[in-house]
Amino acid sequence: MANWYGAYNLFRRETTRFRKIIIDTTVSPIISNVLYLIIFNVAVSGRQVQGVDYIKFLAPGLITLTLINSAFSNPSFALVIAKFSGSISDILIAPLTGTQIVLAYVGAAMVRALVTAFATLLVILLFTHLNVEHIGLAILGAFLTSFFFGTLGAIFGYFAKQFDSMTMMTTFIMTPMSFLGGVFYPVSALKGIWQTVSRFNPMLYFIDLMRYSFIDKEFIPHNISLTVAILANVIIFPLAIYLFTKGKRLTVL
């Protein structure tokens, strides 16, 4: 008999964790987004990108970036802290399978990401009028984005050996990927090799898909972005299950 009630309780624990430190997990990214909006509103007021106001262009990028960062942070930090505090033993001892552990962590990551992104959307609406042109695709895109980066965060938390690893991942991988993913500018504006490099950045496809669903503008055809987003999830999820079932790196540090 599969212990799905146990998995639900792990999910409940991980969602409660981010609710208990809501200033760090939810309010803080919203404030960052407000600052971006204020600064860019002042700095590039009236400028158009791809035929729309820059703020309207920026908004889906910020929402997707919020989805990405929140989904990635939730499981990765929870696992690293658990490894350091020793509470990872709770997970090891508990009668849960690798699949159940991954689903619980990724589920909680998605809840945090979707709540924070929705709150960001509400804040953005204070600055600009924003229509969602393809609402079904926006919802699907939000789910695919949060699922992929939640799973990536869980994998990273699985491998991380020290707190420094978290900072390194954020500074040297996530931030450059977001800059090369077209959050703040159209990737078509990049020159030469950088545009080619951007095409190898998975974040680009998630951001472009979300931007298309909000403002109907795309750099990559949205069918390709959607296919890449689905494929990325199809590849990463079994990998996460494999790792958590093996569980070799889930140890007290």
Partner: protein
């Protein structure tokens, strides 16, 4: 029925360290079983293998007949484990820690609250119910770990040095509760460095050294098999011969005093001889402690 059946388990870590070498042992249901050994003997590795948190290199481990490499989740549902390291949960309160943990084992919401209050009272943590777990003292954290292991009323409880660093009063609290749980039918396996604790509580003991079980026996029998009794007597008569039962027995005369060290169980022979030949004036008999036996076996 056997609560735990370990058959020829070996563990070689990635760096080549052999932690366990073909260890076999059986723990009968309803017993309190002590797993003793010096630091680095392999006790925690063995406990990790039984609880499914450490992979084994070879051999089988069965919990109530369930092979934990095939039915790990089912086996884990029957287990409560107190790990050796003190765990500090940074965000949650004592109640939340227990609430989530009980949930992992399928304890339903309606039953959880009652069960949590009961365990917290028994372990004298009731007043800390709404305190963040990380603000507890070391001893309280240790008791919280015991509470976590017992919250779902497991059939088998494994305690890896549950009283390390805990003061005498709290140790008594923990052991009284564990004994109560045992009386209700749970089997207990524990490791400890307090040998008097093991001697008092365990009906059976295994001593592990360098990855091997060097002895597995009922606690009382262990004394007969490996213990040495010391007899110190003051006599009325001197100048008589006392024949040894075993070549290893030690007999030392000093005027009208004699000291005899013999295998436990042989003391009645010497007492009878001394009474008949020497006329006993005063006598002191030193029974072997588990500590004596432990030191003797581990040194050997």
């Amino acid at each position: 029925m056997e609560a735990v059946e370990i058959d020829k388990i070996s563990k070689i870590y990635e760096d080549g360290t052999q932690a366990l070498n073909e260890v076999s042992l059986k723990v009968r249901e309803g017993k309190i079983y002590g797993l003793l050994g010096p630091n680095g003997a392999g006790k925690s590795t063995l406990i990790g293998i039984i609880s499914g948190t450490v992979s084994k290199t070879s051999g089988t481990a069965k919990i109530f007949g369930l092979d934990n490499s095939k039915d790990l989740q089912k086996a884990k549902l029957l287990l409560g484990v107190v790990p050796q390291e003190v765990v500090s949960e940074p965000v949650f309160t004592v109640f939340e820690v227990l609430d989530f943990f009980a949930g992992f084992y399928g304890v339903k919401k309606n039953d959880r609250k009652k069960k949590i209050d009961e365990v917290l009272e028994a372990l004298h943590l009731g007043s800390k119910r709404n305190t963040r777990a990380r603000f507890l003292s070391g001893g309280m954290k240790r008791r919280l770990m015991v509470a976590k292991a017992l919250i779902h009323e497991p059939k088998l409880i494994i305690l890896d040095e549950p009283t390390a660093g805990v003061d005498v009063e709290l140790r008594t609290i923990i052991w009284n509760y564990v004994k109560e749980i045992n009386k209700k039918g749970s089997t207990i396996i524990f490791t400890t460095h307090y040998l008097e604790e093991a001697e008092k509580l365990c009906s059976e003991i295994a001593i592990i050294n360098k990855g091997k079980v060097i002895v597995e026996e009922e606690t009382d029998k262990l004394k007969y098999l490996f213990g040495e009794t010391t007899i110190d007597a003051t006599l009325e008569n001197t100048g008589f011969e006392l024949e040894k039962i075993l070549d290893t027995d030690i007999i030392k005369f000093n005027d009208n005093e004699v000291k005899i060290i013999t295998k436990t169980g042989n003391e009645s022979y010497y007492l009878q001889k001394l009474a008949t030949l020497g006329g006993l004036k005063k006598i002191e008999i030193g029974q072997p402690s588990l500590e004596d036996i432990f030191v003797k076996l581990v040194k050997a």
